[in-house]
């Protein structure tokens, strides 16, 4: 199978969907020259009408996407997670609430592409992994892919989805390569991955590790290391957090009896917290050990690299947590 770089998988998805559907357009800051790489070549192919550089006015263009989607367009907005705070009112009061509040009269097929840059000395203002805050807000679909194929397949699904979707794109994965099936090798001629279906990356029998976004490669590495010690770890990537594939997680815990959750978000009220709560409520009798969360420390991201590296989940922390559930 051909290999694709994560950020290029975003590009392929955008390109294919823009070719397929004229109502898809993209907007954001400096996207014509693609400073982050995901929109390369799209201006040349689709022109100025469908590739828009916006003023630095997140609240305005996040909201404009809602309005455009309400009257028939399919906007895709590029931003970084950290700039979503500026647009919070439009995201929450309009994007998330409009459809429900107006009795379902309108569909809002907007995609917000929010890149999470962290781990590289960007400090507190530019390192947000904020998906749990948006999981808390009804009305938003939340996607957090961990490899290029999922990125492409889920992005295409997001663009076709009739609701507001936030794609949390993990910047620590941007340069990663992975196999992405060529369209001609696919039964339907295209890669579409449904929302709400988890991906089991490794099967195992002793401990379940549910890992999110940039934690997934660490979880897989941990599982490989533990295999050598005779510990069999099942690694599950939920891929979409809203909707969440509870059934796959519960079935895995039923098999293994042990659960570790790796999540790059801050640990309080994280995605890991929510998954732990679901398993405690609905899978309690399967558990043979307390659930362990490996999430980011409850502190802002410090600039100094010696401190920053202490914050996030790592392979080592996951290995320790897995061993802890077996102790």
């Amino acid at each position: 199978m051909p290999e694709t770089v994560f950020v290029n998988a975003i590009n392929e998805a955008l390109q294919e969907e823009m070719q397929r559907d004229e109502s898809v357009f993209i907007m954001g800051e400096d996207i014509k020259r693609s400073i982050y790489g995901a929109t390369m070549g799209l201006l040349e192919e689709f022109g100025e009408k469908r590739v828009l550089d916006t003023p630095l006015s997140e609240n305005a263009f996040f909201g404009a996407a809602v309005g455009a989607s309400a009257v028939g367009m399919r906007p895709v907005v590029e931003t970084l997670t950290s700039f979503m705070w500026v647009a919070m009112d439009q995201l929450v009061s309009q994007a998330a609430k409009m459809r429900y509040m107006f009795g379902g009269q309108v569909n809002l097929p907007v995609v917000y592409r929010a890149t999470m840059y962290y781990g590289g000395g960007s400090a507190a203002h530019h390192s947000d992994r904020s998906y749990p805050m948006f999981m808390n807000m009804p009305g938003l679909k939340i996607v957090a892919p961990s490899n290029p194929a999922d990125m492409k397949g889920l992005m295409k699904t997001a663009i076709r989805d009739d609701d507001v979707v936030i794609m949390f794109e993990d910047g620590t994965l941007f340069g990663n390569r992975g196999e992405v099936p060529a369209n001609e090798d696919l039964p339907n001629g295209e890669l579409l991955i449904p929302f709400g279906v988890a991906n089991t990356l490794r099967e195992g029998t002793d401990v379940t590790v549910v890992a999110i976004a940039g934690s997934v490669p660490h979880a897989v590495a941990a599982a490989e290391e533990l295999e050598a010690e005779g510990i069999s770890v099942e690694v599950i990537d939920p891929r979409t957090l809203v909707p969440l594939d509870k059934a796959s997680i519960l079935a895995s815990v039923e098999k293994t009896g042990r659960l570790v959750i790796a999540d790059p978000a801050h640990k309080v009220c994280s995605a890991a917290s929510e998954i732990a709560s679901i398993v405690a409520e609905e899978g309690f009798w399967s558990l043979q050990a307390p659930i362990a969360k490996v999430a980011s420390e409850q502190v802002h991201i410090p600039y100094s690299p010696v401190l920053e590296k202490l914050v996030y989940p790592t392979k080592e922390k996951i290995v320790t947590a897995v061993r802890g559930t077996l102790a």
């Binding site: 997140e58 530019h126 802002h300």
Partner: protein, 329 residues
């Protein structure tokens, strides 16, 4: 306005401080001594320096991501700034903030913010405090042409005007936001044209001329201290380097013509000021060169200091989250 020699030489010194600081930063970044983003202020020195030397130590400033020039212009110690960039304990913020978040509260710096537009409300609040307390300090905030399009920017200017707050809004119009020309995003000819919408004076200033900046900001400060409210001062300037270190994807000349860059390089604020000092017989070329050389030495010392400062200890990770620490969850 006839300005005294000490003040004019201070302007020169502070501009050289920023220039040498930034050149050193570019050099050590290329050597991999620190990471993340860093936004050089080279070419724009006259804007912050002209504005800050018009202020008192007790006045406040706030700034943005292009953050090294503002504290240095206000007299901040380059040692603490450099140590912060290297993530060391002797940095202004003990290594927690880095390049985009330099803040030395001891000299009235409310902090540089990486989120565009977000420091305007904060600076507005400092001006509000001055008014409520009946003191005569003012505040000033630096922001770019790009950030001028943020809602927070409009809201702050309106609020400051209706409440007649002692604040100076200083737009550093370097004509681009990353790759985007302000002509494509700002609906008026100049950002300062918007002042009429907030019923405050708006002036367009040659941002390469430190004395012109000083004079315009001085008028605004006088107005502010007299309780007459805010002003908007736009310094038209140019950034000589690329938007940010570590953003290699943007190729030089791709979004701004080479000859435009060259034209603006010909209007170097340090050269303009030095020539004026010499031509008007205020200082000799040797005196000016001596300032340059002295500052070069200070920046070398700052780098030495920063390199020798230790990294924070792991135990410091949770320090300073709250005034009184609470247990970690």
């Amino acid at each position: 306005m006839a300005l005294d020699k000490d003040l004019l030489m201070l302007m020169l010194r502070r501009m050289w401080t920023i220039r040498h600081f930034e050149e050193t930063v570019i050099d050590i970044y290329a050597k991999g001594e620190f990471g993340g983003a860093a936004h050089p202020y080279i070419g724009e020195e006259a804007v912050a320096v002209g504005a800050c030397v018009a202020m008192q130590d007790t006045d406040y400033i706030a700034g943005n991501h292009r953050s090294h020039g503002h504290p240095l212009a206000k007299g901040g110690d380059p040692k603490g700034a450099m140590a912060e960039l290297l993530g060391r304990v002797d940095g202004y913020c003990k290594g927690k903030g880095g390049s985009m978040h330099l803040a030395d509260f001891s000299i009235g710096i409310l902090g540089e913010s990486g989120i565009l537009g977000s420091s305007l409300p904060v600076a507005t609040g400092a001006a509000l405090a001055s008014k409520i307390k009946g003191e005569d300090f003012i505040s000033a905030v630096f922001f770019g042409d790009g950030a001028s399009n943020q809602g927070a920017c409009h809201e702050s200017m309106n609020l400051a005007s209706v409440w007649k707050l002692p604040i100076i809004f200083i737009c550093e119009n370097n004509q681009y936001a990353v790759t985007t020309s302000y002509r494509d995003t700002v609906a008026v000819e100049h950002v300062s044209d918007r002042a009429s919408a907030y019923n405050m004076p708006g002036v367009l200033v040659d941002g390469q001329d430190v004395v012109a900046m000083y004079e315009a900001v001085s008028v605004a400060i006088e107005r502010a201290r007299a309780g007459e409210g805010p002003s908007l001062v736009e310094g038209l300037t140019y950034r000589y380097e690329e938007h940010s270190l570590g953003l290699g994807r943007i190729r030089r000349g791709e979004y701004r013509p080479e000859d435009e860059i060259e034209t603006w390089r010909q209007r170097d604020p340090i050269v303009i000021h030095t020539n004026r000092l010499v031509e008007q017989g205020i200082a000799t070329q040797e005196e000016c060169d001596a300032v340059n050389a002295e500052v070069r030495g200070e920046i070398d010392e700052a780098l030495e200091f920063a390199r020798n400062s230790p990294f924070p200890e792991p135990e410091e990770l949770f320090d300073d989250m709250f005034a009184n620490a609470i247990p970690q969850p």
